[in-house]
């Protein structure tokens, strides 16, 4: 075999050389392929890094955006609350102004200037004109609230009742009815107060006073120890007026009553 080897032909050598060259080429190609793959991998890794960075930046931006949105929503909510408050305030100021206007109008009609002096220097006292108009609804509401604040519950009720009878189409009717109930409550007449609160809730269900009226009834029942009936009314506030402040109060009361 050694002799055979020694006597290998030039062709054999050439074949061998060719094989070696092929192998070298394959190895070179393989090495080249690895380099390319590595290069590709590095590129991929770099790309992934870039994407990761981008994602991180995007994430940060998103968080900031969410924060901004949250802050904006909070600010909007606060502004909304302020606007609501201001609106309520403006409404009250308008009502107050209307009450004042009504009072002044009534005074102007009621007080007739004395006739021009006819030689007599003494001024005559103002005289009341016959058939002076009754106070308007805003004035009556104002008077009633003032009387109630002073603890004059009967006088307050009279003013609110006048409003109901003289101005049955007024926007202030639910309000007047509600304050009649409050006047009864202030006077310690729980039975009458309950019945008028019930009337407010029944006759004016879309009024802002309706959930308060039901809540007041429920509270009175709770204080009187009638827990079951109180629960029913607290639940009624939550079901009928879920967005009202009284619904939150009622939910807390129901938790306490459990």
């Amino acid at each position: 075999m050694a002799a055979g080897a020694c006597f290998a032909t030039r062709n054999d050598v050439r074949v061998l050389q060719g094989d070696i060259a092929r192998l070298q080429l394959a190895a070179a190609q393989a090495a080249s392929a690895d380099t390319a793959r590595a290069l590709q991998l590095r590129r991929i890794i770099a790309s992934l890094g870039a994407i990761s960075d981008s994602l991180r930046v995007a994430g940060t931006n998103l968080q900031r955006f969410q924060g901004d949105v949250s802050m904006s929503i909070r600010t909007v909510q606060e502004q909304l609350l302020t606007v609501q408050e201001l609106t309520g305030q403006s409404r009250k100021q308008v009502e107050s102004l209307r009450a004042q206007l009504e009072a002044r109008a009534a005074e102007q009609v009621q007080v007739v200037p004395p006739p021009a002096p006819t030689g007599d220097s003494g001024a005559a006292p103002p005289t009341a004109a016959p058939g002076a108009p009754p106070p308007g609804p805003y004035r009556l509401m104002d008077l009633g609230r003032q009387q109630l604040a002073r603890g004059a519950t009967s006088a307050a009720r009279a003013a609110f009742s006048d409003l109901l009878t003289q101005y049955p189409a007024s926007d202030l009717v639910p309000e007047a009815q509600y304050w009649i109930a409050e006047a009864y409550s202030s006077a310690g007449n729980a039975v009458e107060a309950d019945s008028v609160f019930a009337l407010v809730a029944e006759k004016y269900p879309t009024s802002s006073r309706a959930p308060i009226a039901i809540y007041k009834r429920a509270l009175a029942l709770k204080v009187a120890g009638q827990t079951r009936q109180a629960r029913v009314l607290f639940q009624q506030v939550i079901d009928k007026y879920p967005k009202s402040d009284e619904a939150t109060l009622a939910a807390a009361m129901l938790r306490d009553l459990k």
């Binding site: 606060e78 305030q89 202030s186 009284e246 807390a252 306490d256």
Partner: protein, 438 residues
């Protein structure tokens, strides 16, 4: 206004001579028997005047101190003018009412410390020439000049004021306040300044209507808490915290409810039983805005408090059950004043509060009847008003003497007096109810 002083011209040692005359000229006190039927001669108090009152020398142990306390209390009450004259010896026999009348006295206060350990007080009606009222006030074994002994004399002063004016005085009351982050007490006349060791940083003291308990907020490493301290036993109960900030407690007039401000993102008012019971119940709806500093109306039906719902702090009122919330202190459109520390007057007629007026804070009062606002202070920075039990005097923090100190203002006459002195900032005063007999 100081005591009314008597001026005498051309007479040597006038006061002594006069006092000697007052003491030694007996006049039979039987003139009232001669008054015709249907005619009333006697002491009639007119709230717009300050009748003169003469406090005679006081017989018995520490009589001079008793007289000084009585006279000062009556003066600080702002309803009477204390006639300042040498007392001379304690009077004996019948009074020469005519001479007291010439002094400008409508009433004479005659007191003595008895051997049985009480203060015997008689008030004479000078015009009617008779004794108006007599009573004994027990010292209950307290050491002379001690805090309890002084309080007994204050109680006597308050009764004397009631006999003469039909309105009880406020001498037997104390003021709780915060100085250097600690809780302190001081008597209504500025005496008996006492620190209360409650631990941590103390804030916003509030009295229970009995005067036995005090609620306050405390700040420690574990957050803010509301505490109720029994001043009799020294024991403190911590109200379960609601998380976040827990501040500005206030008792209801019947003492059964404690309101306080709590929350994380904005605060709201919560009601709780101060001595245990139901869980805290929410009362207000600030919706993320700060709500604090509650104060009950005297009938317990309403609450005034501070809310930032308008974007700046204003005083609101609501029913005690949380319904019917409305703005109390309206401001002209565009104004955004800072308003804080409301305190409902004991007569229910008004709410005192702090308001930003130009660069300074001032104490204001709003009438609950017509919602008209009146400014009570004008000098320097004045804040944190708290009503005295008479609904006439207010204690507040002021910088008018330099550092922040407590001052007392008579809201009717405008007369002021400094209550606290010394180093440190005194603030957050809370005037106690009248301290009843122990």
């Amino acid at each position: 206004m100081p005591f009314r002083s008597i001026r005498w011209y051309g007479v040597p040692c006038p006061c002594l001579l006069l006092v000697a005359a007052l003491s030694l000229c007996p006049v039979p006190a039987v003139a009232q028997d001669t008054i015709p039927a249907g005619v009333r001669v006697g002491l009639t108090y007119d709230p717009s005047t300050r009748p003169g009152v003469f406090v005679t020398a006081v017989a018995g142990e520490h009589g001079d101190s008793v007289r000084a306390i009585l006279a000062r209390d009556l003066d600080f009450g702002d309803r009477l003018t204390v006639i300042s004259a040498e007392a001379g010896p304690p009077p004996s026999g019948r009074f020469n009412y005519e001479l007291y009348l010439k002094l400008g006295a409508s009433a004479i206060v005659q007191a003595s410390v008895t051997r049985q350990g009480s203060l015997h007080v008689a008030v004479h009606d000078v015009a009617a020439k008779r004794v108006l009222n007599v009573a004994d006030f027990a010292f209950n074994g307290s050491a002379p000049l001690s805090a309890a002994w002084r309080m007994a004399v204050h109680r006597a002063s308050d009764e004397v004021e009631r006999w003469i004016t039909s309105t009880r005085g406020i001498a037997a009351s104390r003021i709780a306040f915060v100085r250097d982050q600690r809780l302190w007490f001081v008597d209504s006349d500025g005496a008996n300044l006492t620190p209360v060791g409650v631990g941590g940083i103390a804030l916003s003291p509030a009295w229970h209507p009995t005067g036995r308990y005090i609620a306050y907020a405390s700040m420690a490493d574990d957050g803010t808490h509301i505490n109720v301290r029994d001043l009799g036993t020294g024991q403190t109960r911590r109200i379960p915290s609601l998380g976040g900030t827990n501040i500005t407690p206030a008792f209801s007039p019947d003492g059964s409810t404690l309101l306080f401000s709590a929350g994380d993102d904005g605060t709201d008012l919560y009601a709780v039983a101060p001595f245990g019971g139901e869980a805290p119940r929410r009362v207000t709806f600030g919706r993320g805005t700060p709500t604090s500093s509650p104060t009950f109306s005297p009938d317990g039906r309403k609450i005034a408090y501070i809310s930032g719902r308008l974007g700046h702090p204003e005083v609101y009122i609501t029913d005690a059950d949380g319904t019917n919330a409305e703005l109390l202190t309206e401001s002209p459109s565009g104004d955004r004043p800072y308003r804080a520390s409301p305190d409902w007057s004991p007569d229910g007629r008004s709410v005192a509060f702090t308001s930003q007026e130009g660069p300074n804070l001032q104490v204001m009062v709003i009438s609950m009847r017509d919602r008209k606002i009146r400014q009570l202070t004008g000098d320097a920075r004045n804040e944190d008003p708290s009503w005295a039990p008479d609904g006439r005097h207010v204690v507040f923090t002021s910088t008018r003497s330099g550092a922040k100190q407590l001052w007392v203002l008579d809201t009717e006459s405008g007369r002021t007096r400094q209550l606290t002195r010394g180093a440190g900032v005194a603030r957050m005063a809370a005037w106690s109810p009248r301290m009843e007999q122990p």
